[in-house]
Assembly symmetry: C2
């Protein structure tokens, strides 16, 4: 039987020109390689090399064999990759979220609902989510709007309300509500990985100067240490209610309030039954 290792050695000769070079690259002795090729020729019943006393060259048969061998080797490697990927996808739930807050909430919940599954979360631009969902590269997506598409099931997740977080001494601290217009032109701290919210900020406060911070912990330190305004939300307020020296003022614009939706392919309904139940119960706690 022609085995893969033979084809690998054959291709190496084509790639590196001589048996010696190929053997070196394969961490193999030349004699081993030479013998394998002799055996390969014997098994195929066809000469693959033109043999001079001192050199070996692939002949036409050999060149064809190399070309076909590459395909076999690639297929073989693809087999392993695809089976591994398939296995991984079977035992992981991958979530794509358009914003951080839904991920903070849903990832621990999924871990509890599906204790045997590995949960992976990623923040991306939500316009691509439907493709990723149908393409199979993720199984759950968190969208900032409802999705109505054949084959996709969409459930309301929760609503996030944005707040302005300022020190008590700040001019806006006394207001009971603010608008994005009030912030335009300010200098603010902003967590850089906000996904959908980032887009909202760019659109509605184009003249605000943002000091970006990508490290979440560092961001919290900055908020505590500086007097600069920043954003908060009902979710972050629940998480770090220890935020002293900060006044949180609700932002009144419609755009400061977003409802997130959790979607998956209908064929996964059975798999995500527990999640659907959890989302339903969450509505009226």
């Amino acid at each position: 039987m022609i085995e893969i290792y033979m084809l690998v050695q054959l291709v190496a000769i084509a790639d590196y020109g001589t048996m010696s070079k190929a053997a070196e690259q394969l961490h193999l002795s030349q004699p081993a390689l030479s013998r394998t090729m002799a055996k390969l020729e014997d098994m195929m019943g066809v000469k693959l090399f033109t043999r001079g006393k001192n050199k070996v060259e692939l002949n036409e048969n050999g060149r064809l064999a190399v070309e076909l061998a590459r395909k076999v080797i690639d297929e073989n490697e693809a087999l392993v990759e695809r089976v591994r990927a398939f296995d991984l996808s079977r035992r992981t739930i991958s979530v794509c979220s358009c914003a951080p807050a839904p991920m903070w909430i849903i990832v621990p919940a999924l871990s509890e609902l599906f204790p045997e599954m590995k949960i992976t979360g990623e923040m991306k631009y939500h316009e691509d989510f439907l493709d990723e969902l149908t393409g199979g590269s993720c199984q759950l997506i968190i969208m900032p709007c409802e999705v109505e598409q054949e084959g996709i099931l969409c459930r309301r997740f929760f609503e996030e309300q944005l707040y302005l977080s300022v020190p008590p001494a700040h001019p806006l601290a006394g207001y009971s509500e603010v608008h994005f217009d009030d912030l335009d032109g300010e200098t603010m701290l902003l967590y850089s990985d906000l996904g959908y919210w980032h887009w909202v900020h760019r659109e509605l406060t184009p003249n605000t100067k943002y000091i970006l911070q990508s490290e979440y912990e560092a961001m919290n330190e900055l908020i505590k240490a500086s007097a600069l305004p920043c954003f908060a939300s009902d979710v972050t307020m629940n998480m770090r209610h220890g935020d002293v020296n900060r006044v949180n003022i609700p932002i009144a614009d419609d755009a400061a309030k977003t409802t997130f939706f959790c979607c998956w392919r209908k064929e996964n309904n059975r798999k995500f039954k527990a999640l659907a139940k959890w989302l339903e119960e969450r509505k009226t706690p």
Copy 2:
């Protein structure tokens, strides 16, 4: 490295249901097969079977792996086949002829011109010849007409003149020439594998009753033993000039005289240089 023999064993399990059956079919012991599968799973880092104490079943990973393994195995076998076929085609010259006479002449000539090559000849319906030539399934074609096509080189081979062969006592025996019309309605002996000529006979003598004979030697015996008319040509007359008790009368119709042409792909010009020379010299011996 995942080797082919492992994949073969894997698909055998899929094909025969259990390890025992598969092992039997592969002329292998179950333990060997069992161990190979364990090793395969180990190397892939993925479980391929659901293992009960007493039974083994392919799981989803396994089913995917089997599917992909089939492709790899097929590719691998195709590799050998294709390289062998290619090697064979490199050391053989295959001729497709529209009639037997050109083959009788060209095959021995080719054997002499290319002593290291194997010569294979085949008679087929000439309408398909150009496809076979461009498709690569043969390298020389003998046509009953000149071919003018891009990339095809066409050289005049020779002219064959048809004769009527009758016993001296036959009513037509005294004629210095005959026409196909004179034969219409006769009962004649006919070699069945005449290719182009067969078509000519069917067209021009539709009411003649032909007694077909596919064995060439048997045909010659019949000709000698019976009083039935048959066809001959200048070529056959040269070959079996020992034909006694037969009068050969030339057939005067245009269709009884055919010029054969020998064609090959222009990219083979170099290869068939000796043949071109031979054809040229043959014109004026």
